[in-house]
């Protein structure tokens, strides 16, 4: 049985990895065997340290979770010096996630990361506001997405996966821009912006007022995005949105995803990703699937 898949030159032993920011080496080491997942995606790193948004930063809503962490991290220098050496030791692919508020900062971060060569691949998070362009999210513009991806591509030779925002009218042209700029894969998609309010206090629940929605609620929405992009473009897709079970992951593979990220579900069961991998193998045996790649994109219309 073959469960391994490729995203450009990045070979994954199976299609399951975590979504950035929901999982970590130090925190989950006690609970999960990293050698059983396809990759570990590190929490997004920015050029300079970021304090993040004021709390509360998370609230559960019907069938989902809203969060507004605000990319809290200790900056790329600390990441390179203190985190990469530890990440390198674990037996799975390390994907480093980069996020920033200007093309210049993406460039500087990529240069520092490329020098240490600690990652099997990179995920470019374009779901953050571009301060140079009036705060509009990079990933909401084909041109800005192209600029960011091209800038990083010119520096980093390792595979690059671009994590798209779903908060757009049509995701396909933006996906196309990322591919034209040299992306080896696309993560589809980040969280959906939303908000929650408290009737008793008459205040927003989240410190940042708005946050990103994840969890079961978003799965049908993201499934459709993956389906649309797979139809339009020949590019490996890493699906991300509301995966709790092997069945959820397999649905994404069926509509064309090559790999699948698990985010919110890690909060329920810290080793849920290994359950999902086992579930996929069981499904393959039951359905007589020799190679998972034969199943990917096999949706009958």
């Amino acid at each position: 049985m073959n469960t391994s898949v490729n995203i450009g030159s990045l070979k994954l032993r199976n299609p399951i990895m975590n979504a950035s920011g929901t999982f970590g080496l130090d925190e989950y080491d006690k609970y999960i065997d990293f050698s059983k997942i396809g990759a570990l995606v590190a929490k997004s790193v920015t050029r300079n340290p970021k304090q993040g948004n004021r709390p509360p930063r998370i609230v559960e809503v019907d069938s989902g979770v809203l969060n507004c962490v605000g990319l809290q991290n200790t900056g790329v220098l600390d990441f390179v010096e203190n985190k990469i050496p530890k990440l390198r030791k674990i037996d799975t692919n390390i994907i480093v996630s980069i996020s920033n508020h200007s093309v210049e900062d993406f460039k500087a971060s990529a240069q520092m990361l490329d020098k240490v060569d600690g990652a099997a691949g990179y995920e470019i998070n374009v779901s953050c506001p571009n301060v140079e362009e009036g705060g509009k999210t990079f990933g909401q513009s084909s041109e800005q997405t192209y600029n960011v991806v091209r800038t990083v591509r010119d520096i980093i030779k390792a595979p690059i996966i671009v994590k798209l925002t779903p908060n757009v009218t049509d995701i396909v042209p933006i996906a196309k821009a990322a591919v034209e700029a040299g992306a080896d894969g696309l993560t589809v998609a980040n969280t959906y912006i939303g908000m929650a309010v408290d009737l008793d206090t008459k205040k927003p629940v989240l410190g940042n007022i708005i946050g990103g929605l994840s969890g079961a609620a978003v799965k049908p929405l993201t499934l459709r995005l993956v389906y649309n992009i797979h139809k339009a473009l020949d590019i490996p897709i890493v699906a991300s949105g509301g995966v709790y079970t092997a069945g959820d992951a397999l649905e994404y593979l069926l509509v064309g995803a090559t790999a699948v990220q698990v985010g919110t579900a890690n909060f329920i069961k810290p080793d849920i990703m290994t359950d999902i991998v086992e579930g996929i193998k069981k499904f393959m045996i039951e359905k007589n699937i020799e190679d998972i790649n034969d199943f990917i994109g096999s949706l009958i219309k």
């Binding site: 930063r57 810290p270 080793d271």
Partner: protein, 253 residues
């Protein structure tokens, strides 16, 4: 025994022994859990119902009220959708426990200790109170409630308290002036508080060594998602991993 622990995983399936309303909106839940019985004072449990339940995407953190051999008891207040679901659980139902998690309070042996708990915050400090007593401390407990209807003091709290003072909003005895008067009369070596930012802010101004157990909405419970952050003098810290116990003078409330 319904407890299963694999080598890597410390997520434990446990069976509920009882879950009853002890005061309006306050519940007492007991369950079997020998693994959790090693929990240190101040630590918490992250509990979910039925494991992977898509309609309840994240766990809920609960502090431990009392450990009795292999049995653990929590006292919780109904605050939202999650805790409301917990009230529906009955004897024999299964819960799924991650933990014990978080840090612990510093205990100074044989010290004059003051425990100040407001509402459910008193339950947070009960396991600590019992440990203080075991460490030879003189324990004074200030129990603060909105009114007598939610006073859930039982023999356990009475048992570890050398002196127990109940204050309420009803008769204004819970106001800061009176609480401060009691503190100055006790002249404690160490103060532990939970459940009231008002009292924590008071302690920040006083010259006593004081700790606070903080609450925040939580995601993973393990320190990875940094959603349960609270501001401190040295930047944001995680309630789940760096806390829940903090030096009261370190946090910005």
């Amino acid at each position: 025994m319904s407890v299963e622990i694999s080598e890597k995983m410390k997520v434990i399936e446990s069976t509920i022994l009882y879950n009853c309303e002890i005061r309006p909106n306050y519940f007492r839940m007991g369950f079997e859990c020998s693994y959790v019985s090693k929990a240190k004072p101040g630590q918490f449990l992250s509990i979910s119902i039925n494991g992977v339940e898509k309609n309840m995407p994240i766990r809920r953190p609960f502090t431990i009220y009392k450990i009795m051999g292999d049995k653990v008891e929590i006292i919780y207040k109904v605050k939202g959708k999650g805790t409301k679901l917990f009230t529906k659980l009955k004897k024999g139902d299964k819960i799924n426990i991650l933990g014990p998690l978080g840090n612990t309070f510093e205990i100074v042996k044989n010290s004059n200790s003051l425990v100040i708990g407001r509402g459910a915050g008193l339950a947070t400090l009960a396991n600590l109170g019992s440990s203080l007593k075991d460490a030879g401390c003189k324990v004074t407990t200030i129990a603060s409630f909105r009114d007598e209807s939610v006073n859930f003091i039982d023999d356990f709290i009475k048992g570890f308290s050398d002196k127990l003072i109940v204050v309420t909003d009803e008769d204004s005895s819970s106001d800061l002036k009176n609480v401060r008067k009691i503190i100055d009369e006790v002249k404690p070596d160490v103060i532990y508080c939970s459940g009231s930012k008002r009292i924590a802010r008071l302690l920040q101004k006083l010259d006593y060594k004081s700790y606070v157990s903080l609450e925040e909405r939580m995601g993973c419970g393990l320190g990875a998602c940094v959603t349960c952050s609270v501001m401190t003098r040295t930047g944001y810290k995680r309630v789940c991993k760096d806390g829940p116990a903090f030096d009261v003078k370190e946090v910005i409330l």
